[in-house]
Amino acid sequence: MAAAADQIKQAMPFTTRYPELGTGPLDVRPLIDPELFELERERIFKQSWLYVARAEELAEPGDYKLRRLDVANTSVIIVRDRNGEVHAFHNICTHRGNKLIPDQEAQSLGHTATHTLTCRFHAWTFNTDGALRGIARQESFADLDKSCLGLKRIHCAEWEGFIFINLAEQPRQSLVEYLDGMADHFAGYPYHEATVRLRYSTVLNCNWKVALYAFSEAYHVPTIHKGTFPSLARLEHTEIKCFGPHSTSGIYVPPVPGLEPTPVTANLGGRLRTSDRHRPHLELLPENINPDNRQDFQFEFPVFFPNFLLHLGAGNGYPGMAYFTHQFWPVAVDKTLWEGTNHFRPPETVSERVAIAHTNALHRNAWLEDTSTMEDTYQALASGVLEEMVLMDEELMIRNTHKHWHDYMGI
């Protein structure tokens, strides 16, 4: 037995640091069962803190963002009021329930110069702090208490410029408590300076966890990305740590001998790598990220439970890229809205903008490689043939998410 335990420890040095996670296979049913999906709405997405906006998207008083949340059958307005405070409200007029602002898109930005939001049905008007301000022909309503008819508030909090909401009546934890060790681990990087956001989205015909899990490990990189990033062949996925339901890890890319950058990558990527603004800024990384100050650091790669991934590269991984994010928004058991956003510091010159377009195109292409497996995986899993999936050591972040998924679900 001792020999077997040693062998497991040797094969899975990261996983065995978290004995509560075990080393065995995971059940597949949570990825395909429609009844469990219905429970996820209540027990996960209405209980967790969900990342919904960057503070720079709401830079000025009166700026707002609409975010459709199919998983909670709602739509949310996140708005900066005239005093600069950010609020979140259900996008519903308290009169007869029309959407206060139409939301054809999954997310969109807007601005109200008057710091009010007016329902286009009967012109009820609300202040951006949620108070009901005006009712057309108020004298024709009986016993109306305007103070009780403000917008339906949602808990909202900000950490490092990332704005989260929590749909619970009373969240079990504050945002910082919820983020656990992640709050400190990622604190201090100037995320707010990366104001160029290039976002892609698609609706994948798969369960949200199939997409999340595919993006939660780097074991796939040498195979899936050999087309776009042959330079990643020797990638190391290491320093994997769990903080409650969240987890994080470091990605390093030792150079591949004999592999030179292609001419356009050398030219355009080189421009970003030598510009003071866009060059690698390892010195800006929080102290526990890239702790050995390795020059081949690619990015710190975490999973924020339940549906948010942040890759912090500080310009040292993909040329000029400060960080990028993914989100996985469930629509149905077999349908997921995926969103990926590349964040750059703004270009000072036209050539920097062209170079940013190149990094962005390469990364978009890598995402096209990533998303190519997910519908196949889901269709195959939905057959029910595979009841369990086995994980290697560097798939630990999936294991951690899956365990906490069970805890949240109470099953």
Binding site: T202, G227, L268, V354, L362, L368, T371
Partner: protein
């Protein structure tokens, strides 16, 4: 009337089809391109890439004047097309990839990004 400054006249015929204002339009051009389109674009553009970018750098990125926009758009299109030459053997798709038409660039309608 020429689209490009005189010193880049050899790129004129490329500008006629590639110098498009939005990422979405440039993507549609890429998806419709054949291997020879990619080769012609790359072979003409790579030798003068530095000169093109030097020329454009006399302007602010948010304030490129109308006469210089076709050259700017051509440079953006090249940045997006070059990976097809350098990595994908001049195919108009990324090998073993998801359907690019289903991938929506939220910024794709924004001009000159």
């Amino acid at each position: 009337m020429a689209l490009l400054p005189e010193q880049f006249s050899q790129l004129e015929s490329l500008a006629e089809t590639w110098a498009l204002p939005t990422e979405l339009q440039r993507s549609e051009r890429r998806w419709a391109a054949g291997p020879d389109d990619f080769r012609r674009f790359y072979d003409a553009m790579l030798p003068v890439l530095d000169q093109v970018l030097d020329y454009l750098d006399r302007y602010e990125p948010d304030n490129v004047p109308e006469p210089a926009l076709p050259l700017y758009r051509l440079a953006l299109a090249f940045a997006e097309a070059a990976p097809h030459n350098e990595l994908y053997d001049c195919s108009n798709t990324v090998p073993n990839s998801f359907d690019a038409h289903r991938f929506v660039a939220a910024h794709g309608e924004i001009r000159d990004r």
